[in-house]
């Protein structure tokens, strides 16, 4: 084409110009872009509105959680003192090695080197790893719980090699008297899941231990106090930047017990090889002076988790060291009930104390050939009430029990606390039992038989009592009817204020009885120790005051009608329990005692000297 070149040139020129078509197309495309951009902007705004208005609260919470860590400040557990200010339970600082994984960097290397440095055990590593899996990267994870001074020094020198590893001070519960107080003071242990479910979590945050037995358990609320907390602002690594404020923890109450640790030791030592329990209290107030159960155990391993093996060993020990005999041991009280049965006869059945009963060494119910033996096989001859108590004549009390009748006897014995909780300020005491017709019908679903009344009169059969109950019954006798509630904790001190936690407790009503009757029975009990015919006359010598007491021997094993009981031939486990109750001085009692020495035979022989040791020690008499 001739004009082709030229026309191309022209069209070249024209092409760069904007034909109406070009413009329209371009503008429409721009318009599409604008619409797209506006829609996109709308999308952004909508999303922002969603995040910042609808989700504001949610994200604000997340943001707070992000930066604020609540660090609990556990309270100091109250210290437990004896009446003279001796420390029975304390918190001492210990040091543990802890790792913050987030700051540790190469955790594998650090653990390997620490294992070499401190000789970490397989157990410790395993516990560390399982905790590690459950924790956040900025949590502290304990590696070794109780560092020795030497280990701290060894670690300190090489500290720069271990970022994120630190030595932290903790307080750990200790019991300076160990076995001596393991039952009465008890111990703390790691909080179990079941306990955790029942706790006020905010008060216990940061607390690892809780009272498991004894005073530690019963006074947990007072001893523990309440946790404080610190709000700490942290950065992304969990590094604390500053404190946003804190609430100080409320320390637990320091408790002062009425317990005298010196007397406790006397009781514990006096029991010697015997299993058993000793309870001593102030008759006037019910304040416990000593409360020992033997065998005992060392409470220390329980604090930071006793090993399964050690625990099994304690549990399988046939002497049951974990068992608090003073509070929970149920023993047939045997003849120790006689002074109280005598009071029941005098007060509830108008017994003439002067009337003599013939004791041939056995007793049979009318129309029965069954012979209830007297422990003194030849018999006591003609005995009145006073002599019956002094010589512990069984036949007299067989008859007396039948004379009073079981229901009246039960009711009166209940007033001395038999079959009743003493109300001591410790958890878990046993109620014991003094039977009645109603009880037998209800519990045993059968009728009462008169023979059961007979043996109830000498504290056998269904009758069961704890050493604590016996001590308290002795105290009521010592008070001539004044009923007291045994108490272990005298005062609780917190924040500079001391108070008596029992100040508002109601005082139980006393047993009203003829003073002549009290005098008669107390005199008979004094004779037990101080007359030549008394069953505990061996302990009566060389005392500037009088002891009122009663021996007891509880059968563990029934002897057949025609058999002879020969102590040495019966296996130790089946030998009688020796019991003894006493108070002194008889006219102005300052201490009441109950002793149970298991399987040790006759009460006057083994149990009485234990009681004497306690009494003389407490009343400051040289032995």
């Amino acid at each position: 084409m001739r004009g082709g070149r030229r026309s191309t040139a022209i069209s070249d020129g024209l092409r760069t110009r904007h034909t109406p078509f070009d413009s329209r197309m371009f503008l429409s495309r721009i318009a599409l872009c604008v619409i797209g951009m506006l829609l996109a902007t709308g999308l952004l705004v909508a999303r922002l509105v969603y995040l910042q208005i609808v989700g504001q609260e949610h994200y604000a919470t997340l943001s707070r959680d992000n930066r604020i860590r609540i660090s609990p400040l556990p309270p100091n557990r109250g210290v437990i003192f004896d009446r003279n200010g001796e420390v029975l339970a304390d918190n001492i600082p210990t040091y543990s090695l802890e790792v913050v994984p987030l700051r540790a960097g190469d955790l594998k290397r650090i653990i390997a080197e620490l294992t070499e440095l401190l000789g970490l055990t397989e157990d410790e590593l395993q516990r560390f790893n399982s905790t590690l899996r459950r924790s956040k990267p900025y949590d502290r994870i304990p590696l070794r719980l109780q560092l020795s001074e030497e280990e701290i020094a060894r670690f300190a020198v090489r500290m720069p090699r271990f970022p994120g590893v630190e030595v932290r001070a903790h307080r750990v519960r200790t019991y300076p008297y160990g076995n001596l107080t393991s039952h009465v003071v008890g111990y703390v242990g790691r909080i179990s899941q079941a306990e955790m479910d029942l706790l006020d979590r905010s008060a216990y945050s940061g607390t690892l231990h809780i009272g498991k037995s004894g005073v530690e358990k019963s006074y947990e609320t007072l001893l523990h106090g309440s946790a404080g907390y610190e709000e700490i602002e942290t950065d992304v690594t969990g590094r604390p930047l500053r404190s946003l404020g804190s609430v100080a923890p409320l320390s637990g109450n320091d408790l002062t017990l009425s317990l005298d640790i010196k007397l406790q030791k006397v009781a514990y030592d006096a029991l010697g090889e015997h299993s058993g329990a000793v309870v001593a209290l102030e008759p006037a107030t019910g304040r416990i002076l000593a409360m020992a159960s033997k065998p005992a155990f060392d409470p220390t391993p329980f604090v930071n988790g006793i090993s399964r093996k050690a625990y099994e060993l304690l549990q399988q020990d046939p002497e049951r060291p974990l068992y608090d005999r003073a509070l929970r041991g149920l023993y047939p009280p045997g003849s120790t009930v006689k002074p109280f049965v005598a009071m029941a006869g005098l007060e509830a059945a108008k017994l003439n104390p002067a009337k003599r009963v013939s004791c041939p060494g056995w007793y049979s119910l009318p129309g029965s050939s069954h012979r209830y033996r007297d422990s003194f096989r030849r018999g006591h001859g003609a005995v009145d009430l006073r002599y019956a108590v002094t010589s512990s004549c069984d036949v007299y009390f067989y008859k007396l029990a039948v004379y009073i009748g079981i229901d009246k006897l039960h009711d009166y014995m209940e007033r001395f606390g038999f079959g009743q909780k003493t109300g001591i300020d410790l958890d878990g005491e046993m109620r014991g039992l003094f039977p009645s017709r109603e009880w037998k019908r209800r519990v045993r679903k059968s009728d009462w038989s008169l023979g059961e009344t007979v043996i109830s009169g000498i504290g056998q059969g269904y009758v069961q009592a704890t050493p604590l109950q016996l001590a308290r019954a002795a105290a009521i006798m010592a008070n001539r009817g004044g009923v007291v509630t045994p108490r272990l904790v005298d005062t609780a001190r917190a924040g500079g204020k001391t108070r008596d936690p029992h100040a508002d407790d109601p005082r139980p009503p006393p047993i009203e009885a003829d003073p002549k009757h009290w005098k008669l029975i107390v005199d008979a009990m004094v004779d037990v120790v101080h007359s030549g015919r008394g069953t505990a006359s061996r302990i009566g010598g060389g005392l500037p005051f009088r002891i009122a007491a009663k021996t007891g021997t509880a059968q563990v094993f029934s002897v057949g009608q025609r058999q002879n009981y020969r102590t040495m031939k019966v296996k130790k486990k089946l030998r009688d329990h020796a019991l003894f109750i006493a108070f002194a001085p008889a006219q102005e009692p300052k201490i009441a005692v109950a002793v149970v020495a298991e399987n040790s035979g006759f009460g006057g022989k083994v149990a009485a000297p234990i009681a004497r040791a306690l009494i003389t020690n407490y009343l400051q008499v040289p032995p």
Binding site: M25, F26, L48, L51, Q52, N66, V236
Partner: protein
């Protein structure tokens, strides 16, 4: 007869009553918008940097350099820009290839070319060179584009994008592709072609998925479900959402954003700086920033509609839309509606390279605006 168009070659701007900006080839509203944005940027950056004045000074220095480049480019006549386009594009592709080769020799990602005095990122050059090339090619090839043109144009987009993606820098590759594609779109590509291209793109997506690096795939997966790995890859998005959401309507106050100040928010002064703004100034601050961006975009669009030839129209349109895509992709990523790709918030994020490129683009727009003829040819 040769048509003497020198009479017509009178600058339109000469008719406007502002000799100072005329002489400098500056567009006053655009400059105003940019200054407002910069002001805002420095306020946010001060907080995001942990109140580090050094950071502000360095950013200020970069800004001065960027402004100088903008000013310089504004002086260049669009015709010269057009003429330089193929050259620039060719050079860019060559440099991208060089970077890849050097990157193979060195270790890992390689985006830089060390020129001794300063380090130069060819992929940044391509953000401008690609739309320039497309605008040049399409204006030369004739509009609306037909098959061969569309194919060649597609190649001109895919080659640099693929080279950049290989670096690997997915964010930049995408922006380069977008810039080129917008030019093609504005050039009036038919809907049928568009559909065909979309299908082709859809078909290559699965292949592309396997060609992605692991970390890039992770990013996409993380975007789809950030809570799956809250302390790992999802951490960025979760912390960012917490920062934004907790800001509420009015924000926690300047320098009082806990997410940012306590370093819970990663990359808070670079890619995630928008979250700082959202946390400390709330929805109000976010909308204010978007308003400034929209103002700048509005002025740019005005320039686009005033542009007098095809090259200028396509280039200015492509640069404008790309600018918006920048903003949208960054904010969308920070607020969790787009995957995390390394795209900074234009002119606000700390860092110099993208700022220089962006200001260069504004320089080009100003050149287009201020070199208009009184009577368009």
């Amino acid at each position: 007869m040769k048509f003497d168009n020198s009479v017509l070659n009178v600058k339109l701007a000469a008719a406007r009553p502002n000799p100072w900006t005329n002489r400098l080839h500056l567009d006053l509203p655009l400059v105003g918008g940019l200054i407002a944005l910069m002001g805002l940027a420095f306020v946010i950056l001060y907080s995001a940097s942990g109140q580090d004045l050094d950071v502000l000074l360095r950013q200020g220095g970069r800004l001065l350099l960027a402004l100088a480049i903008m000013l310089a480019l504004a002086q260049i006549h669009p015709d010269h820009i057009k003429a330089a386009s193929p050259l620039l594009f060719g050079l860019g592709v060559l440099l991208l290839g060089a970077v890849l080769v050097i990157g193979d020799i060195g270790k890992g990602a390689q985006r830089w070319l060390d020129l001794g005095v300063f380090r130069f990122q060819p992929s940044e050059l391509m953000k401008l060179a690609t739309p320039m090339m497309l605008a040049w090619y399409l204006s030369e090839a004739g509009l609306p584009p037909r098959w061969p043109t569309v194919l060649i144009a597609g190649l001109l987009i895919v080659v640099p994008a693929a080279l950049i993606a290989k670096q690997p820098d997915l964010g930049t590759a995408m922006l380069v592709a977008v810039a080129g594609s917008v030019a093609l779109f504005l050039g009036g590509i038919g809907w049928a072609y568009l559909l065909a291209l979309a299908i082709a793109l859809g078909a290559t997506l699965p292949i592309g998925w396997f060609m992605l690096h692991d970390y890039q795939r992770d990013r996409v997966l993380t975007f789809l479900n950030p809570e799956a790995d809250p302390l790992g890859r999802g951490y960025h998005i979760i912390q960012s959402k917490i920062a934004i959401g907790s800001g509420g309507i009015y924000g926690k106050g300047w320098l009082h954003g806990t997410q940012g100040q306590l370093e819970f928010l990663p990359e808070r002064s670079t890619d995630f700086i928008f979250a700082i703004l959202a946390e400390e100034f709330g929805l109000v601050g976010c909308v204010a920033l978007l308003a400034v961006y929209l103002f700048i975009l509005g002025r740019c669009l005005h320039i686009v509609t005033q542009a007098q030839d095809t090259f200028c129209r396509l280039l200015s349109g492509a640069l404008t839309v790309t600018f918006f895509v920048y903003v949208f992709v960054n904010i969308g990523m920070v607020i969790g509606i787009l995957p995390v790709v390394g795209v900074p918030l234009p002119l606000v994020s700390y860092g110099g390279t993208s700022m220089v490129t962006l200001m260069a683009a504004f320089g080009i727009l100003m050149s287009i605006q201020t070199h208009r003829r009184l009577f368009p040819v």
